[in-house]
């Protein structure tokens, strides 16, 4: 297992390094990254002085090395608009996005997994068809539309929930549902496939032959085995939820890193945008790695270094 995990860790490091490189070059696609960092209305001399101060007049390769060196020291730079460290500005917003993503994950798991199990157990019946429509809807709903519809219905019309902002659990409900819908569909589909696969195994027939009811067989044996692929997907989905937060946070004025990134684009504060992209990507890679480790721990075939 050690060798397997070391290999995965190596892959994760290579991917992280690749992400840093891609982001570095994307930031330079416009030709002059200085222009992405100066506040609106700066004079030509100010821009030239800043270009020199930030080292953007050096050869590209030198810039790349110093960028990597800065990141290795966890120095993410300073926001010229807000005149303070980028790391601090982003870190302040992270808890909000984590709260939102956790809420969405609860929605997705809480609805998606029971829906998936039900679709597999009552295969071919009315239940499956109804749930399949529900899952398909969740998969095709644009978050910014479902978000506004939720605001319209529960915020404006019924006045049950606050329409925007982050103020307690009641304000989390709508953004979590809007963000979690797509992930819910993914869980439902994957759970259905996993449970169907398990239901066709001999041990289920054996359990049924011993007189176990279908419900008991599912609860005691099938779910445990079907959990393996679902756990793996749960880790990957966390990354998607963080990325999806960009739009949902804008709709609900939720003060997380997604809203911060969009506000920073408007304020031409690109170091913050860069940091948000790097942060989410590294978390995504980290979750991938965690999924691999979880997989290895759960599944003895991998643990024993087959």
């Amino acid at each position: 297992m050690i060798r397997h995990l070391a290999g995965r860790l190596g892959q994760a490091l290579v991917a992280s390094f690749g992400v840093l490189t891609i982001v570095f070059f994307v930031m330079r696609l416009s030709g002059d990254p200085t222009l992405l960092l100066v506040p609106e209305g700066a004079t030509a001399e100010q821009i030239a002085a800043l270009r020199h101060a930030l080292g953007f007049d050096r050869p590209l390769f030198v810039q790349y090395l110093s960028y990597l060196a800065d990141l290795a020291r966890l120095d993410l730079g300073e926001s010229l608009v807000q005149r303070s460290g980028v790391a601090g500005i982003v870190a302040e917003r992270i808890p909000y996005t984590v709260e939102l993503a956790a809420g969405a994950l609860v929605v997705a798991l809480g609805i998606g997994i029971p829906a998936g199990v039900a679709m597999a157990v009552w295969r071919g019946g009315m239940v499956e068809r109804l749930l399949a429509g529900f899952v398909l809807t969740g998969q095709s709903l644009p978050t910014f539309w479902s978000g506004i519809l939720l605001i319209l219905l529960f915020g404006v019309h019924l006045r049950w929930l606050p329409t925007s902002g982050a103020d307690g659990l009641s304000s989390l409900v709508m953004p979590a549902i809007a963000l979690g819908a797509l992930t819910m569909s993914t869980f439902a589909r994957m759970t259905r496939i996993a449970v169907l696969d398990e239901l066709s195994r001999d041990y289920v027939s054996a359990a049924r032959a011993r007189g176990l009811s279908l419900g008991a067989a599912v609860a005691r044996h099938v779910l445990r085995n079907a959990a393996i692929p679902v756990v793996t997907i749960a880790a990957l989905e966390v990354g998607n939820l963080l990325a999806g937060a960009v739009i949902v946070e804008t709709v609900f004025a939720w003060p997380g890193i997604g809203q911060l990134a969009i506000q920073s684009i408007a304020a031409r504060d690109f170091l913050i945008v860069q940091t948000v992209v790097l942060f989410v990507s590294v978390v995504y890679i980290g979750m991938n790695l965690l999924a691999d480790i979880a997989y290895a721990v759960i599944d003895p075939r991998i643990r024993l270094d087959r």
Partner: protein, 277 residues
């Protein structure tokens, strides 16, 4: 024929055709100029009739006819999606074919690049790149196309590896065919099915990406209509003008739903083993 085309898939194809027709014929179908503003006609309800015209879906905050804007928005949506899917299909497939054919270091380099691209959430990479480059139709297409190619590469790579070992490829090689000819004439037609399945699901995603970026103000720029930007403007008037959100969003939802259903149907036909999954 009738056994292959259930009533469901016929309905989906008809709806898709309706969207394509609406987009292509936006000039003919639109009752009004989608850019003409009239401050006297701001935020009128659906069905509102002035002395000269009827606004079936109402007007927006600048008094423009919503129905016309939605029709032109369909054009923006489908054009961006079709072009960006084409870009990523070509780039992704070419890289996958190369990796699958040459294997060795070529494959390692290309597939590592694929893994890296897949570790940046696509919407974030698109947001960053569009923001750096500035808005523009072609830039939007290129950014979406160049962020979403890795899935094609994975599929093309795996399929090429499978096909490359088959006897008929060996025969073509021994008959003196060059690598380009073999890849183009013998391998590509054989791996086209799975690639088309990926392209369809990506098409739906691209429609959502375009709308999402336009909603964030990074896609199609005002005054030109896109479903995303109409909804973004509508969000500010959500208490007074529900139609600005409901109609474009419903179009987007139905279109993406149809594309996804069509994709499922296509996948079942290309790969019968996946049927019912």
């Amino acid at each position: 024929m009738s056994a292959r085309f259930s009533p469901g898939i016929v309905l989906i194809l008809l709806l898709l055709a309706a969207f394509v027709l609406a987009a292509a014929g936006a000039d003919l179908l639109s009752p009004a100029d989608p850019l003409r503003q009239s401050l006297l006609l701001r935020l009128r309800e659906p069905g509102f009739a002035s002395r000269t015209a009827t606004y079936w879906l109402g007007t927006d905050d600048l008094g423009r006819d919503l129905l016309s804007r939605i029709l032109y928005g369909a054009r923006a949506s489908l054009l961006v999606a079709a072009l960006s899917v084409s870009v990523s299909l070509v780039v992704g497939t070419a890289l996958g074919l190369l990796a699958g054919w040459f294997r060795g270091w070529t494959a390692v380099l290309i597939m590592r690049f694929v893994d890296t691209m897949l570790s940046i959430p696509a919407i974030l990479l698109a947001v960053l790149t569009v923001a750096v480059l500035g808005p523009g139709f072609l830039k939007l297409v290129m950014v979406l196309g160049l962020t979403r190619w890795p899935r094609y590469t994975r599929v093309a790579y795996a399929a090429t590896l499978q096909v490359a070992g088959l006897p008929y490829i060996k025969a073509a090689e021994m008959a003196g065919c060059g690598a380009t000819r073999i890849l183009w004439r013998h391998i590509l037609p054989n791996i086209a099915g799975p690639l088309m399945v990926v392209a369809t699901s990506e098409f739906g995603l691209m429609i959502l990406f375009e709308a999402g970026l336009s909603f964030l103000g990074l896609g199609i720029q005002p005054p030109y209509p896109s479903w995303g930007s109409i909804m973004s403007a509508g969000r500010q008037y959500v208490t007074r003008a529900w139609w600005l959100t409901v109609f474009p969003g419903a179009c987007l939802f139905v279109l993406v739903l149809c594309v996804n259903l069509f994709g499922d149907w296509l996948r079942d036909r290309v790969d019968p083993r996946s049927r019912g999954r």
